[in-house]
């Protein structure tokens, strides 16, 4: 057992050691050392994770403390690991995607001055994410949660010379703080009511609190579990970018593409999903919370998909697609189909990382021009990227036999079978989402890889304005070219699981004993998962059967329609979208403005610190960060600060007088003659 413990400790520690060494000494070491060290660390972590997963499948789970941080008032805070099917699976996914991204980065960041810094950050991120998923208590979960947030903040602002990147990272940070605040309150509430932060202790005691109520506002008792679950979910909404806390994710695309793939598609943003799945024993006690989760997820899944249709930045299309897919996972959580959510999380990690990296490859090929209106016909020039991107898109829209099909179809089925309030709406939303997904995915695909080579015209405009190193586009005589092998190799490596992983794993993961003990479902109250399994065993019999049956199902045809419509609009009759855009200008404007979330935030949260962040963006100028940040904050605290500043006049009389008034107030307040 101690041998296994060493392995558990090594898995997160190796990336950390690599990160620290490269972070501190990266400038002094040769450039190649940065990638060799970190890749070696992550690769070994990946292999060990695979070993652990195999060990877990053999029935060896682990739950225990590794290091006791402190004991305070009877509460023990410790670093501990809970290794079961759920965490082992996450470890493999995280380390695998991270490894691929590490390799990819060698090519993508080749000329960047912050080469070693970048490797240090992504290794640090890998460590934090592993600590998060391996945790066996809320404290460590929160630590990992904050740490991944911090690294993401650092990475979004990686190109800190771009004002938009600085704005985006500030925005991500502030929005996440809102979520974290709820999350922290939730954790505090768990500690306060159940007296422990250890998962096992909390989960075993939680059923006793099923009917407990709490009066946050005197006279209005609320179910305790609902309050806790909703507070925790607020944290998940921040991290997993659910409406209305989703606003930071599209902007986070300012960061380099490898981290968009690793952090903002495959791993960190799914932390919220993972957390809710991990907390399934708590969520099962509150149907109300599940309903809220489901409805929020459904809204995100559908409405963020719409936004993907009008985006022209290749990374933003993928970003909105990520939002929409996160919505799907959340819906699955709401339907008590936690295993399906994790299943989709896994398949999504592969094909979305693939799509992001493919987008990155396209961006390299196009010399950092990200506008899909300037692309086209790239399949001739970038064959590997083309094929892998096609595989990714097909997986994403749920083509039978591909991984995305199994997970997404299972979600739709689970929602259809769910009976909690809101499931009807959610079912409609996820069905419509299938069509939307197919449409925007293939809109992007067709615009990028097929049709006319529009870059031939566009590059003349770009030719002269090539001053910004990151935004120059193709020169007048450049042709797009295929990326080096370090870029295409991860694409291929990710394409393989994108195709086969669903087929191979659906049976054990969803309908077998894989998650036994890790995920708890109250089959009587929430029978969706149970019925889903029943349906699978009686009707489909096998994954292949499921795929064959799909041809006769609604989602398949919705997806097909989406693809067909995209083909018609963007290849066959490219003038139609323009006409529609003019005909339905209002709808287009709404989508273009992302439903006004940003505008709303700007206006509504003008009284909060967020206001400062938006202020920054509106002026979009580094100057603002130096000058107006201070003044803006001063205006934010408005008359309050004005009064206080007035008192802080520098005149000794005033100070003495303030002291006397202080004594006077204390005297009057507390005097009992």
């Amino acid at each position: 057992m101690t041998d296994m413990l060493t392995i558990y400790v090594l898995i997160p520690l190796l990336p950390l050691v690599a990160a620290v060494v490269i972070g501190l000494f990266g400038r002094k070491l040769p450039r190649a050392a940065a990638h060799w060290m970190t890749i070696a660390g992550v690769a070994v972590s990946f292999l060990l994770s695979c070993f652990v997963l195999k060990d877990v499948l053999a029935g060896h789970t682990f739950n225990g403390a590794v290091y006791t941080w402190m004991t305070s008032g009877g509460t023990v805070f410790e670093i501990g690991f809970l290794i079961d099917a759920l965490s082992a699976l996450m470890m493999v996914v995280v380390t695998f995607v991270s490894l691929m991204v590490h390799i990819y980065t060698i090519g993508y960041m080749h000329d960047d001055p912050g080469y070693s810094r970048f490797f240090s950050y992504i290794s640090l991120f890998t460590f934090s994410m592993l600590m998060l998923v391996m945790s066996n208590n809320f404290m460590q979960l929160f630590f990992g949660w904050e740490a991944v947030g911090l690294v993401s903040y650092l990475l979004i602002g990686f190109w800190f010379k771009r004002p938009t990147a600085i704005y985006a990272n500030l925005k991500a940070f502030l929005v996440n703080r809102v979520g974290d605040f709820g999350f922290l309150l939730g954790i505090g509430m768990v500690l306060y009511t159940m007296g422990s932060l250890d998962y096992q202790a909390v989960f075993s005691i939680a059923p006793q609190f099923a009917d407990a109520t709490v009066e946050l506002i005197p006279g209005h008792p609320w179910q305790l579990m609902t309050v806790i679950c909703l507070l925790l979910f607020v944290g998940a909404m921040g991290k997993s970018a659910q409406v209305p806390l989703h606003v930071w994710l599209p902007d986070s695309m300012e960061g380099p593409t490898p981290i968009s793939a690793l952090i903002h598609a495959a791993t960190m943003v799914t932390a919220g999903i993972f957390m809710v799945a991990r907390m399934s024993p708590l969520y099962e006690l509150s149907t109300t919370a599940l309903s809220v989760v489901m409805v929020i997820g459904a809204v995100t899944a559908l409405f963020m998909g719409f936004l993907g249709i009008v985006q022209n930045d290749i990374k933003r299309v993928v970003a909105y697609s990520t939002l929409s897919q996160l919505g799907y996972m959340t819906v699955a959580l709401g339907a008590s189909a936690y295993s399906v959510a994790i299943f989709h999380l896994m398949t999504h990690a592969f094909f979305k990382a693939l799509l992001f990296l493919a987008a990155g490859s396209v961006i390299i090929g196009m010399h950092h021009d990200q506008d899909i209106r300037n692309m086209g016909e790239l399949k001739k020039y970038m064959p590997v990227t083309w094929i892998t991107a096609l595989i990714g898109s097909l997986a994403l829209i749920g083509t039978p036999f591909l991984s995305g099909f199994y997970s997404k179809d299972s979600i739709i089925e689970a929602v259809a079978l769910s009976n909690i309030p809101g499931s009807g709406f959610a079912h409609l939303a996820v069905l419509a989402g299938v069509f939307v997904t197919a449409f925007y995915s293939f809109r992007m695909y067709f615009l990028v890889f097929h049709g006319k080579a529009r870059w031939r015209e566009a590059r003349h405009e770009h030719g002269q304005a090539a001053q910004d190193a990151h935004h120059h586009g193709l020169g007048p005589h450049d042709e797009p070219h295929e990326s080096p092998w370090v870029v295409t190799f991860p694409l291929v490596m990710l394409a393989i699981p994108s195709v086969v992983i669903g087929y191979l794993t659906i049976q054990p993961m969803l309908f077998g004993d894989f998650f036994k003990g890790a995920i708890v479902v109250n089959a009587e109250a929430h029978p969706a998962m149970h019925e889903l399994a029943h349906h699978f065993h009686t009707v489909f019999h096998s994954p292949a059967g499921m795929a064959l049956h799909a041809v006769a199902s609604l989602p398949f045809w919705l997806a097909a329609c989406g693809v067909g419509l995209a083909w018609f609009f963007y290849l066959k009759r490219p003038n139609i979208p323009e006409t529609l855009k003019q005909r339905f200008a209002v709808i287009y404007a709404i989508l273009e403005n992302k439903y006004g979330f940003d505008t709303f935030n700007e206006r509504f949260f003008a009284a909060g610190v967020r206001w400062v962040g938006d202020r920054l963006w509106r002026h979009g100028d580094v100057q603002i960060i130096d000058g107006t940040l201070v003044n803006g904050t001063a205006r934010l605290i408005g008359c309050f600060a004005a009064v206080i500043r007035h008192l802080q006049s520098g005149r000794i009389y005033h100070y003495a007088f303030a002291m006397i008034i202080g004594v006077f107030v204390l005297l009057t307040w507390f005097m009992k003659v």
């Binding site: 941080w69 402190m70 940070f173 904050t633 934010l636 000794i652 005297l667 005097m671």
Partner: protein, 482 residues
């Protein structure tokens, strides 16, 4: 043991510091600019010697001296040791700063040692008289240290304000003490305590005295509404003096609070609890909000001090032993972070240039990644980001408050801590994401770099292993306060 021998033995650290201070005062007369280093070395030796004596004479019991006016309990010993350490670090950090500004003179060291003596007297005071005299000794030294750069109008103005307001606060404290004497007929802390526990003779007078005592204490701590001097003095004083004013004296102020409020006035705990709540809430709110608007790092840290004091009061106002332990923990963590923060300003300053504006920290990560990393740790700790020690300190005091049911206040404090995180992290942002404004190299003495490194890393390492420090605080409080 003969009473005099006992007196001398018990107060040996104080006597040693006093003797050395006077010796240094004389020796320094015979030194030239080039040999002035000896004064510095002797001062450090004094601190080391005092620490060794304190450790050697330490017992877990409580000893009295000078007809019960002096007490030597574990609380006193631990706080004294912390004060020596803080003072020693202050001397290391300020050495080159002072030398570059012509203040590397014997007076600085003598006054610093006398200030330390004042702190020690306060820490060991068991009589209203000695507590007050220790306070005056300390304050007088600090006033004159702030004004030591006498041709600097900003510093002299700060000293003037500090002096006048400090005198007013001393007057208030003295007035309150006279009320306590008036109703109990006693100056002895323990006897006042037992007189009040038996039943307050005269509640109205007691409260009147209490209000003035609390006002005097609040001034020393820098709690709202007695905080006005803090920003001006922190900002105006030469940074080395700010470092001194902001660090070690907080231990003495904490001891003063323990002696006066807890040991003498525990009979009226519910009354001072209310006052402290009021001041704690105001301090946290005002400190954190106004700090956002600051462009000067020293001023920002001054407002941050005010909010830290608010948190410190959270532990004390809980009125439980747990709360006092948490507060003591907080004050030691606070001093550690303050030393680091101002130490960083001193490090980046050089002749004719004070690195005290936020803009001076722009792009530090590109110029000096290691210093930027240390500053990042310090800022994180001040903001209370885990796993730094600052998080645990905040956690401990809030937990103590939670245990006595002050839930709403705790929620408020957490909210304000989130607001506070904003301006600390702004410093991090400036260091890591902004362009440097100048490219002047930092020439630091190796000893300073080393101590600063230890200081910065301690914030992180103690955060990972807070148990030791916590046990030390618990030991000091539990063996000294019944």
């Amino acid at each position: 043991m003969h009473p005099i021998v006992n007196d001398i033995y018990t107060a040996l650290p104080e006597i040693f510091v006093l003797g050395m201070a006077m010796a240094i005062l004389l020796i320094d007369l015979f030194l030239t600019e080039r040999t002035r280093f000896l004064t510095y070395a002797l001062s450090q030796f004094t601190l080391l010697g005092a620490a060794m004596i304190t450790v050697a004479t330490h017992t877990p019991g409580v000893g009295y001296a000078f007809s019960g006016m002096f007490v030597d309990d574990p609380l006193a010993d631990v706080l004294k040791l912390m004060s020596y350490l803080a003072t020693s670090v202050v001397l290391v950090y300020s050495r080159s700063y002072l030398a570059e500004r012509g203040m590397f003179r014997g007076e600085f060291f003598v006054l610093t040692l006398f200030a330390l003596l004042g702190m020690m007297v306060m820490i060991s005071g068991r009589n209203l008289l000695t507590l007050y005299m220790g306070l005056e000794l300390l304050s007088l030294c600090l006033y004159s240290l702030v004004a030591l750069d006498r041709d600097n109008p900003r510093a002299t103005e700060a000293a003037m304000k500090y002096f006048v307001l400090g005198a007013l606060a001393s007057g208030m404290l003295l007035y309150g003490m006279s009320m306590l004497y008036g109703i109990t007929g006693n100056l002895d802390i323990n006897q006042i305590g037992s007189a009040l526990v038996k039943g307050a003779p005269d509640r109205a007078v007691l409260i009147l005295g209490l209000v003035f005592v609390v006002a005097g204490l609040a001034f020393k701590l820098g709690a709202v509404p007695f905080q006005m001097w803090v920003p001006d003095v922190y900002h105006g004083a030469p940074t080395a003096m700010t470092l001194l004013v902001g660090s070690a004296p907080k231990f003495a102020a904490f001891a003063l609070v323990m002696r006066l409020l807890v040991q003498a006035l525990q009979g009226v705990v519910h009354d001072w609890q209310g006052m402290l709540i009021l001041m704690a809430v105001l301090s946290i709110a005002l400190g954190n909000i106004i700090a956002i608007a600051q462009t000067n790092l020293k001023r920002m840290l001054a407002y941050s001090t005010i909010s830290h004091i608010g948190f410190l009061l959270f532990g004390i106002m809980s009125g439980t032993l747990n709360g006092f332990i948490a507060s003591m923990f907080y004050v030691s963590v606070y001093v550690l972070m303050t030393l680091g923060g101002f130490g960083m300003i001193l490090l980046l300053s050089r002749r004719g240039f004070e690195a005290e504006n936020l803009d001076d920290f722009k792009g530090l990560a590109a110029r000096h990644p290691w210093y930027a990393f240390l500053m990042l740790l310090l800022m994180f700790s001040m903001a209370g980001v885990p796993p730094t020690i600052g998080f645990y300190a905040k956690f401990a005091v809030l937990q103590a408050a939670l245990q006595v049911g002050l839930v709403k206040l705790v929620v408020f404090a957490v909210l304000m801590a989130v607001v506070g995180a904003f301006y600390y992290l702004r410093v991090v942002k400036l260091m890591y994401f902004d362009e440097p404004q100048h490219d002047a190299p930092v020439r630091a003495q190796p000893d300073m770099t080393m101590v600063l490194t230890v200081n910065g890393l301690a914030v992180l390492l103690l955060g990972l292993m807070p148990q030791r420090l916590m046990e030390l605080c618990a030991y000091a409080i539990l063996h000294s306060i019944q």
